[in-house]
């Protein structure tokens, strides 16, 4: 995007300028890391780690310095810390996975302006592809769920995972086109409702395709799903021994997979970011923006609406297809529950919270929502329940913790928190936490002059033919 960059630095960025800035960021990152080694289970320390990543993004230094810092953190420091608490790798995996999904959705919603409420469907397609071919489901297609025995071997060897990573991309892109065709003529609310229905259809299909041919094993889901083989060098006892010494605890195959999936998710995320940035700044990206701004003018300038919209659906979907395959392997289990409407909404919340159309914002949005989902609220709940076990009383109120009703468990209020978060955002910062350049200008700069004749002509509504 060639919108002139704001040359002003925010107060935070001014603080991080020059050599002192380098040291400040380094100190925060090192402090967070040290804190993690000291107390690997502390939530504030995890938040501090994420904050240090954010600082690296915001620091006004040259690109390669930021890349060095960021790469060092993501590829060396975090995995090292992961030795002390494997949950860190799980958290990193989930954040990277959802950030990739959010980037894919951002292409559809943020770039092309097509509101898609069924985005999780593409994730499901990728996940079920590997779930079906990477498990023994292929041998059970004529058996009802829950009746079969587990075999010793699988129809496809585990390394086919790598091939299915590509198959997932293609399969999801194809599904994206499939969804795209019927909704090409629709706009706004109508589009949202149809895509919402599409997402549900895929989930319901996953639920019901256990008969007449058992493809998905119904609500019980498919398990076990194979994980790709890890090179024998890493699984050798000596190597595990060494890792164990570093960590001060025994390190097993499961931990190795934790690292593997973390690195894979980060790699796919980086690729997704890279592609999204390049696409945004190309002929196709401009065509998407043009369609979002005014599809009649865009088509009159020679932008083929159908092809451009389908490209948005297909490319957006392909990111989540790859992530679906990875997710299925990571969990070794998929069931329709994973792909409910609330997940679609969560991803949309990430996009809107972070900043519609802004890649950095969307990644941050994914980090915040995922942290809330699987870390912050859970941790608070855990702490609350441990307080409830004890005999203490709530300060000021004098009520014993034990008599606090379980209905007040923070984890139950996940949706409420998202809702509140969104409302607060829409009031104070509608363009998102890290807005895209375009949105920032759009929402915070008044047009110099209202076009005079804008109201002269009645609203030009194109024929339906236009989009067929």
């Amino acid at each position: 995007m060639s919108v002139a960059r704001h040359s002003q630095l925010s107060p935070l960025q001014r603080l991080l300028q020059g050599t002192p800035g380098l040291w400040i960021v380094l100190a925060v990152a090192a402090g967070a890391s040290y804190g993690f080694v000291q107390s690997p289970r502390s939530l504030p320390v995890r938040l501090l780690l994420i904050f240090s990543l954010l600082l690296i993004y915001f620091m006004p230094q040259k690109g390669w310095i930021k890349l060095l810092y960021g790469g060092g953190m993501l590829l060396i420091v975090l995995p090292y810390l992961g030795l002390f608490n494997p949950f860190l790798m799980e958290l990193g995996f989930q954040i990277a996975a959802f950030a990739t999904l959010a980037i894919g959705l951002n292409i559809v919603v943020g770039f092309a302006g097509l509101l898609d409420l069924g985005y999780v469907a593409f994730f499901a397609v990728g996940a079920y592809l590997w779930a079906f071919f990477g498990s023994q489901q292929l041998w059970h297609t004529d058996e009802a769920p829950g009746t079969f025995t587990i075999f010793a071997t699988f129809p496809f060897p585990a390394w086919w995972f790598w091939i299915f990573l590509g198959v997932g991309v293609v399969g999801a892109a194809f599904t994206g086109v499939l969804l795209g065709f019927p909704v090409l003529r629709l706009r706004g609310d109508y589009l949202a409702i149809v895509t919402l229905g599409f997402g549900e259809v895929i989930r319901v299909m996953a639920n019901n395709l256990d008969k007449p041919i058992n493809l998905t094993n119904g609500p019980q889901g498919i398990t076990p799903i194979q994980r790709p083989p890890i090179p024998s060098f890493f699984t050798s006892p000596e190597f595990l021994e060494q890792l164990g010494q570093l960590a001060g605890r025994p390190v097993g195959l499961n931990d190795l997979y934790g690292f593997f999936f973390y690195f894979m998710a980060v790699a796919i995320l980086v690729l997704a970011i890279f592609l999204a940035l390049r696409l945004d700044n190309s002929k196709l990206g401009r065509a998407w923006t043009a369609i979002r701004e005014d599809d009649v003018a865009a088509v009159a300038m020679g932008v083929p609406l159908r092809r451009t919209k389908l490209a948005a659906f297909a490319i957006g979907a392909s990111f989540s297809g790859a992530m679906g395959v990875l997710y299925a392997a990571n969990r070794t289990f998929v069931s329709p529950e994973t792909f409910s409407l609330t997940v679609s909404i969560s991803i949309l919340v990430m996009v809107i919270l972070g900043g519609l159309g802004s890649i950095a914002g969307v990644v941050l949005g994914a980090a915040i929502v995922t942290m809330l989902n699987i870390d912050i609220l859970q941790t608070l709940s855990l702490q609350l329940s441990s307080l409830r076990q004890g005999s203490g009383t709530i300060p000021l109120l004098g009520i014993p913790w034990a008599s606090l009703p379980t209905q007040l468990d923070p984890a139950r209020y996940q949706r409420l928190f998202f809702g509140l978060l969104l409302i607060v955002m829409m009031i104070f910062r509608p363009e998102g936490i890290i807005p895209s350049q375009r949105r920032r200008l759009e929402l915070h700069e008044e047009p110099a002059q209202e076009p005079l004749a804008a109201q002269l002509e009645g609203e030009l509504e194109p024929d339906h033919k236009l989009e067929s």
């Binding site: 919108v3 190309s282 401009r286 065509a287 088509v299 375009r438």
Partner: protein
């Protein structure tokens, strides 16, 4: 000479309203032609039908030797016809340069793979499109250095020029301008008229414009078509049209045309 654009018996209805009624129209290549008529006569609808935004209910439209009735707008643009809008339809939140680059969509050969891999040919195509866009902006008389401004932040007269540059970026043989001088002051109008002439003289683009400002119409049109109630009621040179009884009636019946200034703006 074979007409560049030829409409035969074109009809377009909106429900019971016949907005364009059995219109024949021929535009010779290299002409500057005008379509005039009172408010609501159906001029814009004719443009929309030609450019494929609406599909004609009846009739044929031939452009540059091929039948374009029923084709999609982007196909018609690719065939060499581009337009501006009566109520400026720039992409408000894109920069001026990006607007023109979107106009060059059919002329930029870059592919999806090229964009992802940033191939040499992709970079060359993008750079060429950029240079061409900058050149066009200068050509339509936009002050230098406005390329990075958001389109919506520019004054009205400049937005009209950007719309013309955006249309030119499609490398059209024929350009359709819908009330391109509406809302301009006399100096701007003068400059606009000079620009339209240059489009034809220097770029060889055939120009068709819808105009309410009789000074503009009489000043530059070589051929005038008059529309009233969706029907063509007269055509010919400016002198012929001016004398035509039906034209005088059509205008006097609603809002009298004057040579002093624009008429019939606003609705």
């Amino acid at each position: 000479m074979r007409p560049l654009l030829e409409l035969r018996n074109v009809t377009k209805c909106f429900g019971g309203l016949v907005a364009v009624n059995n219109v024949d129209l021929q535009i010779e290549p290299g002409r500057i032609a005008s379509v005039i008529g009172p408010n609501g006569a159906g001029k814009t609808t004719i443009f929309n039908t030609i450019t494929g935004i609406y599909r004609p209910d009846a009739g044929t439209i031939r452009f540059d030797g091929q039948n374009i009735a029923g084709k999609r707008p982007d196909q018609i643009t690719a065939a060499g016809m581009c337009r501006t809008f009566q109520n400026i339809r720039l992409f408000h939140n894109m920069t001026v340069l990006e607007n023109v680059l979107v106009g060059a969509h059919t002329q930029t050969p870059s592919t999806l793979w090229g964009a992802m891999l940033r191939t040499r040919s992709f970079q060359r195509a993008e750079e060429k499109a950029r240079q061409e866009a900058i050149r066009l902006l200068r050509y339509v008389g936009l002050p230098a250095g406005l390329g990075d401004q958001l389109a919506k932040n520019l004054p009205y007269g400049q937005q009209r020029r950007i719309e013309i540059a955006r249309a030119l970026a499609a490398n059209p043989k024929l350009i359709l301008l819908d009330e391109p001088t509406a809302g301009m002051n006399p100096q701007e109008t003068e400059a606009a008229i000079r620009l339209f002439r240059r489009l034809r003289d220097e770029l060889g683009v055939t120009v068709v414009l819808i105009e309410h400002d009789m000074k503009v119409v009489m000043g530059i049109s070589e051929y005038v078509t008059v529309i009233d109630y969706g029907q063509k009621i007269a055509e010919g040179t400016t002198a012929e049209v001016r004398k035509n009884q039906r034209v005088i009636e059509a205008y006097l019946g609603r809002s009298a045309p004057s040579e002093q200034g624009p008429v019939g703006e606003g609705s």
